[in-house]
Assembly symmetry: C2
Homo-oligomer: 199 residues x 2
C-alpha cells in the first residue's frame, strides 16, 4: 500500500492545493475534517458556499461586501471628500484598525505587474476614475503596497487622475515605528532621510 485510501488521498490533495499548506499540514487538516461532527462539517462546507454566493464587490468602492454597497460607502459619518486607494481588501482592515482615517476607500483588487501579466485594465482603476466624475472627491491618498508593483500602480493612477483636478498624495515612506534602525534596509533609510521633517 503506497498511501491512504483513495477518498482520503483525494481529500489530502484538495488541502495540499491551498496556499501555504504543505503535505503534512494537508494530512492534518484532512484528518481533522474526518474527526469533525456531521454538524461541524456541514457548517464548514456551507459557510464556504454561502460566502462565495453572497460576497461580491461594492458597487462604489469595489471592497468585498454582502450588500450592494459596503458599510463604509453607506456610512453618513465618513468623509466623502477623501478616497484612500489600496490593492487588497485586507489593506482596508489594516488602515481601519488605526481608527485615524475617516474617509472612503477604493480597492483595486491587484497591482499593475507586467511580469505577471497584470495590466491597468485588469484591476479596478476604471471604477476609481468614474468616482472622480463629480466634484465630491477632493483628495486621493495612494496606499498601495510599498513595493515595485505598488509604486508603479500609484504612479500610473496618479498621472491618470491628476488632470481631473483632484489632489493626489502617497503614504509617507520611512522607518517603521518601534523597529531597530540598524535593521532598516538602505532604500527605506534613504526615503526616511529624504522625507525628514523639521522638529
Amino acid at each position: 500500500m503506497n498511501g491512504f485510501t483513495p477518498s482520503l488521498e483525494k481529500l489530502i490533495d484538495q488541502f495540499a492545493r491551498l496556499p501555504s499548506v504543505g503535505r503534512k499540514s494537508a494530512q492534518r487538516l484532512a484528518f481533522h475534517m474526518l474527526d469533525m461532527s456531521d454538524k461541524q462539517a456541514a457548517e464548514f462546507t456551507e459557510t464556504i458556499l454561502n460566502a462565495r454566493a453572497s460576497i461580491h464587490r461594492c458597487e462604489i468602492c469595489c471592497n468585498l461586501t454582502d450588500g450592494e454597497i459596503c458599510n463604509i460607502c453607506n456610512s453618513p459619518e465618513r468623509d466623502k471628500s477623501v478616497i484612500c486607494v489600496v490593492g487588497d481588501p485586507r489593506d482596508v482592515i489594516a488602515i481601519e484598525k488605526t481608527h485615524e482615517y475617516n474617509g472612503l476607500y477604493h480597492v483595486l483588487h491587484g497591482l499593475i505587474s507586467p511580469m505577471n501579466d497584470i495590466n491597468p485594465e485588469d484591476i479596478c482603476i476604471k471604477e476609481l476614475v468614474i468616482r472622480l466624475g463629480d466634484d465630491t472627491v477632493k483628495e486621493v491618498i495612494m496606499a498601495t503596497d510599498p513595493t515595485v508593483e505598488g509604486e508603479a500602480t500609484s504612479m500610473y493612477i496618479s498621472k491618470l487622475i491628476k488632470p481631473l483636478g483632484v489632489s493626489v498624495s502617497r503614504l509617507a515612506y520611512g522607518v517603521p515605528v518601534g523597529a531597530d534602525l540598524e535593521y532598516a534596509d538602505e532604500f527605506t533609510l534613504i526615503r526616511a532621510i529624504e522625507g525628514r521633517k523639521e522638529m
Copy 2:
C-alpha cells in the same frame, strides 16, 4: 468598520478553527476560497463531504478505508501471522514506506492517556484482542509512538495479550524518543523493526 463583511468573517472563523491555522493564514485561505472557480469550490466541498461519507474503519484492523475491509487485510500477499499495532492511520503509511514490513496492522485510533481522559476502552484494543482469538497470529509488534502515552499503551496491551500465547515485541529505540512516529525517516524505522525486543 471593525472587520470584513459578515459572511467573510464567518468564513475566516471557520478556517481559524482548523488545527495549526492562525488568524492570518485563515484570512489567506478564506480569500483563496473566494478566488476559486465555481467548479473548484464545488469540488473542494464535495470532496470533504464524500470523504466523510465513504471513509470508515476496516472491520478487521480499524485502519481507515473506503471498502469494508482495507487493502492490507484483503491482500493475499501479506503475512497474516504478524500484526503491527499503531496509534494512528498515518503511522501505517510511515511503516509502509519502508517496504520492509509485510505483516498486517492494527490501528488503535489513540493512545491511553489518563491526563486527557483517554482510557483503554476508548481506543481499539478490544478489536485487537478479538483478532487474537484463533491461532493465526503468532506475533504482535507494538509500534505506538515512542512517548509516555505510547509506552503506557504498549505496556497495557502487552500485559493483556501475552496470556493469549502470542509473542509480543516492541519497536527498538532506533526511533527518536519523544517524537511523533509519522515523522520518523525510513531508515530509522527499518532499524527499529529489525531490532525489536521481546516484551
